[in-house]
Point group: D2
Chain length 340, copies 4
């Protein structure tokens, strides 16, 4: 960390900041500059909070230098983490496709869609049993019945299932049924839920918060790793910006950044980024090309009858197209080092 | 809701959208225009999801018209809600000041600060016992011990206490001790927590999410009212934008909008908006002038020793200045209709 | 356009809005709804400004329905515009690569880089002679000398050249030398410059403004087409968001939206989006995959000696890799309808 | 500036960065830390571009430390600049109100509004003769005729006039008529226009760009001061964010930041921030309270007949209310040090 002093900071002010730094167990190293002094703060372990020094007299700015995360960092583990789910290894060099409806609506609906996405090449099935909805009056998911349908889908198709967990009350129930536990965008900083997810032995699919920085997102993953669970899949799903031609703005530069900074696999959700069906296939191609390790896509055989997110769900024949296009693109750059 | 058709939509496409609207129990009213047809969707009760129609052939756009919230709306309750906490009536025409440290660190710290803020004129005391922290390695609050200290502060000073509840596990414990339950920014769309808050008989202080629209924020409040608890205080605390000279961008236009749309009181938190001490007093003056019904401000007698958010905490003498300035400004415009 | 009335709007208020609409030469069509009245505004030609009606008593909201642009719209011209520059047809189904340094620094620098990028497969050469710089103290470009060097590059390599025009004073001079005139991000809404660009017979490369919506961007192009120049190439170069791991956030969903709405070709600039070399190749692959019709990339043989934007410039050997990767990906999806 | 090296950077890489820094005429000072080395870059004059070093092998990050501006900085001129226009001294401790229509539409319109705003207490009159409009089909202003009407308003009312200059072609003409030259949001980084404005002896009213940081805005002002014109008034008018209940988000924290960093006066434009009449008065009160030195407000006697921005224009009687409320609030805190 670097503490930048005012041009007119007095020696007494500088001394007092140095003393404060050292009283907290760090080493302070003043760096006289052309027109002002800066103070380097050296710290072997842990992270210093910039705000600790921002309020001192004579301090103009405090600039964090090192990253706050540890266990998720490639500096700690240089090789890629591979998250195993059944036969699938997410992050292993293959491109993993997770597909299914936004919400489980009935056994028939789930089985129909699962059969279709499997046929096209999906590796995992997704579907919500507990749905976080902006409105208390919207369909909230089938709950435990939805979980049972997911189990039925797995039995019938052999596809492992991903489903969202919304709270602590239903946590154990969801863990009982799901192969991968999803923590949604709105819960990315639900730290109690993250801690709970750190204590299980089950892969966690962690969506980026709607306005989370990459540091905050990796710190959320750090909560899970710190608890002992190292099976975390990161999922970029668009961030909120002034743009309104898509529901969110897909931040694909997150892929090279995450792959450089962290060993965890990263997957793209183009459906929630776009919010409209007609952008999903182009964004999926882009995701495969940019170096992501997989996709999560919403598919529905009757989106116009869907109880949620119908507008962004692909028809099965569109999903078939998507798989063929993505496969071809991923094939091309399999010889490419995706970290560059 | 208005469904806008493509310029070249066929009559068959229009008919099929009309049929779809009516099959869902709404009334469709086609409106032939100069260069295209639009279809008005009339619905007496409930809200139609735009996405239901976005994917139909021939549909260019779907435009929501009415607001999604009901119980929080001024159309349902024209008069202001007044939330009573002890002798204080938030939203009653007085300006309510809530002050205290970010986190409770010790009984001595809490009592020292509480005495100071009371002396300056604070009406409620705030302090975190359970702290949502970006890093699992940061100080997470004293937990139940913190709650006991809060109870001690109330006894000693007579100030009602506001404290954050982070999860369902500790929910009842927090309710036992707190006069007002705070739901933080990161939990604004933790719908399980919101439902739980709807079932208690205790005021809820609901912070706006970091990138929440006003509709989403009011819908979060709707969850609480829908559960039966009508004592909700809204708190604007800055939103995340490209701006980085303050931690967040305080969105003061939210005040006239919320006061027009909803009967719930709205309070400003300048400390989290600014993230730096030197912007807190100016923003507090602006909050009093714009028509907010109160402030929540962080104060610490030794911010440089603080375990969290030290950089944005005011010194007690600065808080004293803040109270005098805000009081004078609020006095001036007490004759003003704050809804204009 | 749709005018949404307050739930409690009186009949007199409704009548007065209807009269106002008709006094402006439009047709008003009131639509009684379940709980409020809306008024459709029909207009055969031109665009109605929503703000005209927003201030009337009883009006709650005004919702624009049709798009404001005409000449750039696919509704006016269904087939793709192909912009011809020498042998190259931008938008013709090939993938056009424009490459070169941020700024022309010397003849030797320009010729060295031009030779390298031509060898790797670039179709056009770029380089700034007049540079818009945030600081008046930064290198501002070589001016006319830079233009002469560009002419020299064209002679030597046969590559057409793209260069930015910053103002009216130097406009004719730039037109004299350049094959394609670039209008930069900061000038996207410099309407005097746009009008001037509408009067020449030379392709215009129009970068999206840092926080422009697609509507605003297409309207900027509309200024050029309205003046009589139909040779416009759109360039997405990232928008400003809260994200700071890249200089801007590349908005790839702009590609399917622009290709659906407009007949103009769209090209991606990954260099300014990323602001860092290590994201440029992945984003270029994504651009080729998403359906863009070309790339503009910064390349420098000695970026560490560069007078501007060194951090985002690729080394020639990286540009060679980029071309091979992008070519392979574009090859894959050349059988794909990029509008889907 | 601070160059942060990778944890695993080799000594050779460090040496090479040090050599590069010194080859550019700066002093490099390596700072060994706990887990990595950082290199401080000392520079007495001018600014180092971070990007110069971002691409070197072994470099993880480059952190700018000092501000890039000089002449606009309070470090260079500690006392407030007062911009004199007629009898008015903007920045002198009084609160300056600039009011008038968005565009000059006719002599009668201008004189009517000018008389009204003068009566309520406006100090300057505003009105556009050349209007930057998103659409080429919208009303573009009366041009020179509008300037003549402005001159007429000044004669009749004695109010100095502010009007926007859009380009170099009409620059001299506008300077001939206007007392204060406005450079609009979309031209904040039209550097040719800024340089031109630096060469005149006339106050310049510089609006903040829609997504400009404060550094970029102050650098735009630096262009003007660097040219020799020190009479610059800064105007915050809202920035573009995800929020859509107001046209832009008014960034009031810019006021304490600008007042701390710069000696130039800062004024608020609540009309363009809000985009809707009903937020203008509350935001004006907030502007007066936060410590701004004035307001620019749009007023129209018949906003529903207005050719532009009708929805945000106040009626004269609302402007009268605004003046009274703002006056009272400014009166209260005239004893307040607005820099705190």
């Amino acid at each position: 960390m670097l503490i930048v002093m005012d041009q007119k900071a007095t020696q007494a002010e500088i001394d007092s900041v140095v003393a404060a730094v050292e009283s907290k167990g760090f080493v302070a190293r003043p760096i006289p500059g052309g027109d002002r002094v800066s103070i380097g703060v050296l710290h072997n372990k842990g992270v210093v909070e910039p705000s600790l020094f921002l309020g001192y007299p004579g301090v103009k700015d405090v600039v964090p230098v090192t990253r706050p995360y540890k266990l998720v960092s490639r500096e700690v583990q240089p090789e890629d983490t591979i998250v195993r789910v059944g036969d699938v290894g997410i992050g292993s060099g293959h491109f993993t496709i997770i597909a299914g409806p936004c919400a489980i609506e009935s056994e028939k609906q789930a089985l129909t869609i699962a059969a279709a996405v499997k046929r096209s090449g999906a590796h995992l099935f997704r579907g919500g049993a507990y749905k976080p909805r902006t409105s208390p009056y919207s369909f909230q998911g089938l709950g435990e019945e939805g979980l049972k349908i997911l189990a039925r889908v797995r039995e019938e198709t052999g596809l492992p299932v991903v489903t969202e967990v919304m709270d602590e009350t239903t946590f154990d129930l969801v863990v009982e049924y799901a192969d991968v536990i999803q923590i949604g965008t709105r819960n990315m900083q639900n730290f109690s839920l993250l801690r709970r997810a750190g204590q299980i032995n089950r892969p966690v699919f962690l969506k980026r918060g709607m306005s989370a920085t990459i540091d905050e997102w990796l710190m959320a993953a750090e909560y899970i790793l710190e608890g002992g669970n190292r099976q975390v899949i990161l999922c970029e799903r668009g961030v909120r910006t002034f743009v309104h031609h898509s529901r969110n703005t897909l931040d694909l530069s997150a892929v090279p950044v995450v792959r450089k900074e962290s060993h965890l696999p990263i997957v793209i959700d183009p459906s929630h980024a776009a919010g409209r069906r007609d952008q999903v296939i182009p964004l999926s191609r882009a995701a495969a090309a940019v170096g992501a390790q997989g996709l999560m896509v919403e598919v529905h055989h009757q989106p116009e009858e869907s109880l949620s997110d119908g507008a962004q769900s692909l028809y099965p024949q569109q999903f078939e197209q998507l798989c063929r296009q993505v496969e071809a693109i991923f094939g091309v750059h399999s010889g490419i080092d995706p970290k560059r």
